[in-house]
């Protein structure tokens, strides 16, 4: 009778353990997954914030050439920054909205617009296999088109291909006179 009671208690404990283990595993892996998501989200946010000057100075051609501010280049930098995060494995390329130079070109000085960076992420801890379910992480900023010298109708310095001011060459060198018709 006593032995039977002990075996029953062992069985009950085993059943409880089997019932509780998946729940504990889900909680533990879920916590890790949340941490991973927060890490990726934070990296995406920081990367997008770093690109805000490029996006806000969109109409400043000299600035854009100097800092490589096309949408493709910005997207590549975002993806590269995300790749540097060790938790950002099995993460798709970053999609930027607006996603083309042409759309950005329609913005005028002072326009307020929203820029969104989103990325498809596969589960890493909860489903550690390839081809699993995905979810979308999204970061956004509401920002605006910043002013530029053109806005104030000021001249910008002519720049060379590297973005540095061109070496000055006087329009008229000494000894190269230009003759103008006098006013009668």
């Amino acid at each position: 009778m006593k032995q039977s009671l002990q075996s029953r208690q062992k069985g009950a404990a085993l059943v409880e353990y089997v019932l509780v283990l998946p729940l504990v595993l889900v909680l533990f892996l879920g916590a890790l997954e949340v941490f991973r998501v927060m890490s990726i989200k934070q990296t995406l946010r920081a990367a997008l914030k770093q690109e805000l000057p490029c996006l806000t100075h969109w109409r400043d051609i000299a600035y854009g050439e100097e800092h490589e501010c096309s949408i493709v280049q910005i997207t590549e930098r975002l993806t590269s920054t995300l790749d540097s995060n060790p938790f950002a494995r099995r993460v798709g390329p970053v999609q930027l909205v607006p996603n083309s130079d042409e759309i950005m070109d329609t913005l005028l000085y002072g326009d307020v617009f929203e820029v969104i960076a989103e990325v498809e992420v596969e589960f890493g801890f909860l489903y550690p296999f390839e081809g699993g379910p995905t979810f979308t992480l999204r970061e956004s900023y509401v920002t605006f088109v910043d002013s530029a010298p053109d806005y104030y109708e000021l001249n910008n310095l002519p720049l060379d291909e590297s973005g540095k001011p061109l070496p000055g060459e006087p329009a008229l060198l000494p000894g190269a006179p230009a003759t103008a018709e006098p006013t009668p």
Binding site: G110, V142, D146, N155, L157, E169
Partner: protein, 326 residues
């Protein structure tokens, strides 16, 4: 008296059945486990719900910070006073409000329409002073245009964004309440400075120099070689690309383009010169740089010009002073 016997009333029988079932259930192991689960589930739900709410509030906090920082940047970008070129405070106010409104009310925003916000502007008297309260003058949101229209070059300002979120809405997703005790308030402040539009003629070290030489007259005209030099010592982003040479009637004698620096940081443009033909007699020539918004946004004939007289032909008679008494 006849005592009525037989089956009890149906309600009594149901009650007894429930009591027996509960009694067995309570004594049964499965019943105990179920009761424990029923007790624990609300706790688990509460923990998960609290975690979500913390995420929500932290996200709202971050959103408020982003909104106020971008709004302050809008002010520094478009509230840029320049001589004779006032900015539009209405446009700046519009941009600030739109940035805040859009940031808070997007679908990715936290509470959407439930959020209420207002702003407070601060004029900072002394940006080098560490104190805040005694160093500022506040303006409510209703005085936005008044505040923005009074900004001067190099002014320091502060912008505080106050967001009120109905607490029940934040916690339970219920619609808002007017009860002040149930409103979650978040604040954030950004500071900025009003930039100065670069105006070249206001630089003390930007001095045109001229040297006009009259050459021998040919065909009844004189050739006058005009040289000038712009020099600057401070870093200077905007430089004139055209130099106008006009006579005393404002007629253009020559237009020189491409006046670019040899050194964009500091230096001079040596040896720019042009030779113009001037008629007989005395011609007043003025060299102007940076007009038509090239350098001076005021579009005025400011100090970026020098004048000189060119005399062609026979020397002008020298005036002798009249002796006193005559």
């Amino acid at each position: 008296m006849r005592i009525r016997s037989g089956a009890p009333h149906i309600s009594v029988r149901v009650g007894r059945a429930i009591a027996v079932a509960l009694g067995r259930f309570a004594r049964d192991q499965w019943g105990v486990e179920t009761a424990e689960v029923v007790l624990v589930v609300p706790l688990l739900v509460g923990v998960v719900w609290s975690a979500l709410e913390i995420w929500q509030i932290m996200s709202l906090r971050s959103t408020v910070r982003n909104a106020v920082s971008q709004a302050a940047r809008y002010v520094t970008a478009y509230a840029s006073p320049a001589p004779d070129r006032p900015y539009d405070p209405g446009q700046v106010a519009w941009g600030v409000e739109k940035i805040i409104e859009d940031t808070l009310s997007r679908s990715r925003g936290i509470m959407g329409d439930a959020l209420q916000w207002d702003i407070v502007w601060y004029h900072v008297y002394d940006p080098s002073a560490p104190a805040w309260d005694e160093n500022i003058l506040g303006y409510p949101m209703g005085e936005t245009i008044y505040f923005l229209s009074g900004l001067q070059c190099n002014d320091q300002f502060g912008l505080k964004l106050r967001v009120a979120a109905p607490w029940r809405t934040v916690l339970f997703g219920l619609k808002g309440t007017t009860d002040r005790e149930w409103v979650l308030r978040l604040y954030d402040t950004a500071v900025g400075a009003v930039p100065c539009t670069p105006v070249g003629c206001e630089f003390d070290d930007f001095n045109p120099e001229r040297d006009i030489t009259v050459e021998d007259p040919i065909d009844g005209y004189c050739r006058a070689t005009i040289r000038w030099r712009f020099k600057w010592e401070a870093p200077f982003t905007y430089l004139p690309q055209h130099v106008w040479i006009v006579d005393e009637y404002g007629e253009l004698l020559d237009l020189t383009t491409g006046v670019w620096p040899q050194d964009a940081v500091a230096g001079a443009i040596p040896g720019n010169q042009v030779t113009v033909r001037v008629p007989d007699g005395t011609t007043d020539v003025t060299i102007v740089a940076g007009q038509f918004n090239e350098l001076n946004p005021s579009n005025s004939w400011g100090e970026c010009q020098v004048s000189a007289s060119i005399h062609c032909g026979a020397p002008e008679p020298t005036r002798t002073p009249t002796p006193p008494g005559l």
